[in-house]
């Protein structure tokens, strides 16, 4: 059989490569200055889905929820081989915590009726690893977290190997299933040049609308229609399309609230400089023996 795969992806600030430009003078990070990227482990999830399609047939749809700018990772998904992409964007999604996010995503996934849902283990901005399992619970399907490898797909049965920290487990379950994928699972492919040329013009309606605000000569309806005919109009869903109950979305749907945010400032303790000479190092070792740190 062929498999209908849905990949959940997130656009995130690149928290791993913080350069001088993204630092404020007080040693804190200027989050607005960080480049937005495809969450790395979501790329591993996409790669796993594409490999399923290549081996067994089927299709891969990528969903992201976010600001209009998140359409960029959808284009990147198309460059890599996704068959369809969907942007969930709606002001009423703002301030969603992981519970509200997973509710909204689960509404979208349900509309696509997939066999396999895949997402990265966690996103590098929050590192919570909660959205995957919460989507699985909302869908009432089994979850295989920390998936390293799909061993077999046989009809409606999947066998996978997952990491358990200091070891691994092989598990089997019935589809539909949700997998969260770790970065050791595979090496995500790079965009294919041909697909890039084809899909770099892909846009969603809200992007066209933003362009029309800058340039009133743009006819939103006409451009959208044109793109649609060429297969370049990115599907865009809001909470009404999803039929989501607003009670469970956004701020109202989020039990966790932020009490306080503090920037981490690299603290300067009292530092003693020790010369790299035998005498100075002996003196330091002596000090550490006297205060019972060593010995």
């Amino acid at each position: 059989m062929t498999y209908n795969c849905v990949v959940l992806a997130k656009q995130v600030p690149d928290t791993k490569r913080i350069t001088g430009q993204a630092m404020n003078e007080d040693g804190t990070v200027n989050r607005a200055a960080l480049p937005a990227i495809f969450n790395p482990e979501d790329l591993n999830a996409l790669e796993m889905a594409l490999q399923i399609k290549e081996q067994y047939g089927g299709k891969v749809t990528v969903i992201t929820m976010g600001l209009p700018a998140a359409a960029e990772i959808l284009r990147q998904s198309l460059y890599r081989g996704a068959d369809g992409v969907i942007l969930i964007t709606d002001k009423r999604c703002a301030a969603s915590d992981t519970l509200a996010t997973s509710y909204i995503l689960s509404c979208a996934v349900r509309k696509l009726n997939p066999d396999i849902v895949l997402c990265g283990r966690q996103a590098i901005d929050g590192d919570t690893a909660q959205v995957g399992p919460q989507v699985a619970e909302k869908l009432g399907v089994p979850q295989i977290t920390y998936t390293e490898q799909i061993l077999t797909l046989n009809g409606k049965t999947i066998t996978a190997r997952r990491s358990i920290g200091n070891g691994w487990q092989e598990v089997r379950t019935k589809l539909p299933v949700l997998l969260t994928v770790v970065d050791t699972a595979n090496e995500p492919r790079i965009p294919a040049a041909k697909r890039l040329m084809k899909y770099k013009a892909a846009r969603c309606r809200i992007e066209i609308e933003a362009m029309a605000k800058q340039d009133p000569s743009i006819d939103v309806e006409a451009v959208c229609k044109q793109l649609e005919q060429k297969g370049l109009l990115i599907r865009q869903w809001d909470l009404d399309v999803l039929g989501a109950d607003l009670k469970w979305c956004g701020r109202d749907g989020s039990p966790t609230k932020v009490h306080r945010i503090q920037s981490v400032v690299l603290t300067t303790k009292e530092t003693k400089s020790v010369e790299p000479t035998q005498e100075a190092i002996e003196a330091m070792i002596h000090e550490l023996i006297v205060d019972h740190t060593i010995g």
Partner: protein, 342 residues
């Protein structure tokens, strides 16, 4: 979700594998004890498994007033669906105000599933927990005695404090190793509350076909002295310097993620946000620049010596002893000094 209730207990998920308690559960009991005392409510452990009752003794000695014991043959191996079902039932029945899990592979698999079923909040990977108040600026409404869930976010560049005032329980997973291990008190005994639970084979969504656990080759958390090397050490061969220095101090060798990724040493030795969190008496950072992700795992060290040839290395900002120089010269000097003095 359950209603906000001030009499609710503080609960700790007692994670066990094959009848052995995870260290994290013990660490959580010590934190849970403080929180429960502040709130003047009992501290309870929730223990799921098959024939695991003997573990109740230790849970009591480490601070639990009560153990909710759910034993069933189908709970023998951890599985998301069966464990989540039982916890969901017990939380509805007893209405704890706080529920803590270790941020272990099991805790991070289980807690979100439970939170979703309860429609309750959950904060991942907390590094500290406190009791405090929260005021809503727009209305001036004040909530007292909330669980302040403190965690790094944004790759460790910010510290966020999360609260959860209207949909309970207040749930959090807590990073391994960030709470100190308490001393057991042999006189303490926990009351055992046996829970009758019904589970059917259909409650197990997975079949576990095979499992392999490697015992950890090194126990960094238990080491008084840690000597850690970074990418600056240069090669696997040169990493011998780290082993030698650790050896003569009776300490453990460790590494940054970069050094592990470069293949200098096994992943068991990794300290930092994605590795082990350590709080030794002495931490010697050799050729480590001190990325915030690494600092997150060692900032609790009592004394830090940093050796680096880059005067701008962030590690120097948190070091007690700063040695600006070539590690290939400095480390042998240290080994010589230690051999002569100790």
């Amino acid at each position: 979700m359950i209603e906000v209730n001030r009499q609710g207990e503080v609960w700790v998920f007692a994670e066990q594998h094959a009848g052995t308690l995870e260290d994290t559960s013990i660490e959580l009991l010590s934190k849970g004890r403080q929180l429960a005392d502040q709130l003047k409510v009992p501290l309870a452990a929730v223990l799921l498994g098959d024939r695991v009752e003997p573990l109740c003794v230790r849970l009591g000695q480490y601070g639990a007033d009560r153990v909710y014991l759910a034993e069933h043959p189908l709970l023998n191996h951890y599985q998301t669906s069966s464990y989540a079902k039982v916890l969901d039932e017990l939380i509805h029945k007893h209405k704890p105000q706080i529920m803590l899990y270790g941020a272990t592979p099991v805790g991070r698999d289980l807690a979100p599933r439970v939170a979703s079923a309860l429609k309750a909040g959950l904060t991942a990977d907390c590094t500290d927990l406190q009791i405090g108040r929260h005021e809503i600026p727009s209305t001036g409404k004040v909530y007292e005695n909330l669980l302040l869930q403190i965690r790094p976010a944004f790759g460790g560049n910010i510290i966020a404090t999360i609260i959860n005032y209207d949909r309970w329980p207040q749930m959090a997973t807590v990073r391994e190793g960030v709470m100190p291990m308490p001393e057991p008190d042999g006189r303490r005994k926990a009351q055992i509350v046996r829970e009758n639970i019904s589970l059917l084979p259909g409650d197990l969504m997975l079949e576990i076909l095979a499992e392999h656990r490697q015992p950890k080759k090194v126990n960094l958390k238990a080491s008084r002295i840690i000597v850690a090397g970074g990418a600056g050490v240069g090669s696997k061969e040169n990493f011998k310097l780290i082993w030698d220095l650790a050896h003569c101090l009776g300490g453990a060798p460790a590494a940054t993620r970069a050094a592990v990724d470069l293949g200098f040493i096994d992943r068991d030795h990794q300290v930092g946000q994605t590795g082990t969190t350590v709080r030794p008496v002495l931490y010697i950072a050799v050729g480590i620049s001190g990325a915030i992700q690494h600092q997150a795992g060692m900032i609790g060290s009592q004394k830090i010596i940093a050796i680096n040839n880059d005067p701008e290395a962030p590690i120097f900002q948190i070091a007690h002893y700063k040695i600006l120089g070539d590690l290939n010269q400095v480390v042998p000097m240290m080994i010589k000094a230690i051999r002569e003095k100790v």
